[in-house]
Symmetry: C2
Subunit: 259 residues, 2 copies
């Protein structure tokens, strides 16, 4: 039976892999690497660096790398169309993964997908594998190796907690935050925000803890009262995007009680 | 200057430490271990096992273990009294930590607090260290090493995501869940629930993903529609508590849209 590991590889620092992840890497015959396109080729390189750091290479290398191009996601389909567009994109991705597993992974081999952060947060890999299994054309077992999420890495760098004592925290997307500050919580982590949605709340008594490229040599951190920190983050973000061509950032908003 | 590492050591599996955590352990001179009392002495042993797994011992051991008794927390002070009771308890704990750091850690030494899961989730260590620094009697630098939270470990074992596509997830406490299902989210992770609060929602179309002692040899998992799974979890929980004298569990509730 084919085996597949879905391995969380942390937010960017190769030392943020767990020992369990390293063991899973070392038991893998075939790594499936999906390239999201030119601007994100840094990320492909970072994944290769992680493999190089933890696996023997050169003639001692016993693994194969299989690379493929991720399907383009229709980001133009905004608003209510978000979920269906994601669904189409996921099916397109499932087609590619299914073909890779069927053609590149031997019946007794182990394959692995390397997922940034933790596979449980805003990652499609588990859903895609379930979709492939539902189709029934290829069969395999799989397991999930949890990783340090960019969320955990972010707050560790800021030396703060996700929640305050006895209170809840919500993890959400930039798109959701644009619809309003979530009900019933004052601590909100925002991921996948391409539009600096935090700026909409700069008139409220909120602290922000922001980070980009967390755990990598390019890491940038900023924190403070939102009103004064938001413009600084906007500048840092723009400069970093110009320099690198892409950005991955996350932030925590911590709202203070109204007096 | 004294240095302190606050190290997330994962949910119980020694392989769930990160390489960064292992490096931090190995650069530590003094480990501060707080015992919560007899019933949780298993947890102290588990921490020692983790040290044994990753550090040289016997005559090669270069570290010291300093153990102390955690102050009793006034759990009787329920309801609105929760936060103040936590505050008092935290100050009592800060007194102990302050004394330990002042008396047991040399000026050029590194100390470490080992935190289950991730220090950012429902853990008081960071707040306590800030309180000690605010008091000003002892000074030190500190850093935070993120860990695999019981939340990440739970959903990895269940091979599911924390969030559904493009949707938020909330992490909250049993006490909060008892006040009502949180607004605006259908995916809710519940921690610190001594009262099986999930039972209140068994009449709704909700799936539960539950786990206890995750990552340890005693791990127990259960999942399924809440109505039929809740009674089974209640039995598993009671039997495990009788057997071990304590339980640490976490769960994800996933509500389905109303038709």
């Amino acid at each position: 039976m084919r085996k597949i590991h879905v391995i969380g590889i942390g937010a960017g620092d190769p030392d943020q892999l767990t020992l369990q992840a390293v063991k899973a890497l070392r038991s893998t015959d075939v790594f499936f690497i999906l390239d999201k396109g030119e601007v994100k080729s840094d990320l492909v390189q970072l994944r290769r660096d992680i493999l190089d750091a933890h696996l023997p290479d050169g003639k001692d290398a016993k693994y194969r790398l299989v690379e493929a191009r991720d399907p383009e996601r229709d980001r133009a389909a905004g608003g209510a169309g978000y979920s269906p567009a994601v669904g189409d994109w996921r099916s397109a991705r499932a087609n590619i993964y299914e073909r890779l597993i069927a053609e590149e992974l031997g019946e007794d081999e182990s394959g692995a997908f390397l997922v940034w952060g933790d596979p449980s947060l805003y990652d499609s890999t588990l859903g895609i594998l379930e979709e492939i299994l539902d189709r029934g054309a290829v069969s395999f077992e799989y397991d999930v190796v949890p990783g340090i999420s960019s969320v955990s890495a972010l707050v560790a760098r800021h030396r703060t907690g996700l929640n305050r004592v006895a209170r809840p925290v919500q993890i959400t997307t930039g798109r959701r935050l644009a619809e309003g500050f979530p009900d019933g919580v004052d601590d909100v982590v925002v991921m996948l925000d391409a539009h600096q949605t935090f700026q909409r709340y700069a008139d409220q008594d909120i602290d922000i803890y922001w980070g980009a490229y967390i755990g990598t040599p390019d890491e940038i951190l900023a924190s403070g009262p939102l009103a004064e920190t938001a413009p600084r983050i906007a500048e840092l973000r723009e400069a970093a995007r110009d320099r690198k061509g892409w950005i991955m950032d996350t932030y925590l908003l911590r709202r203070h009680p109204r007096d």
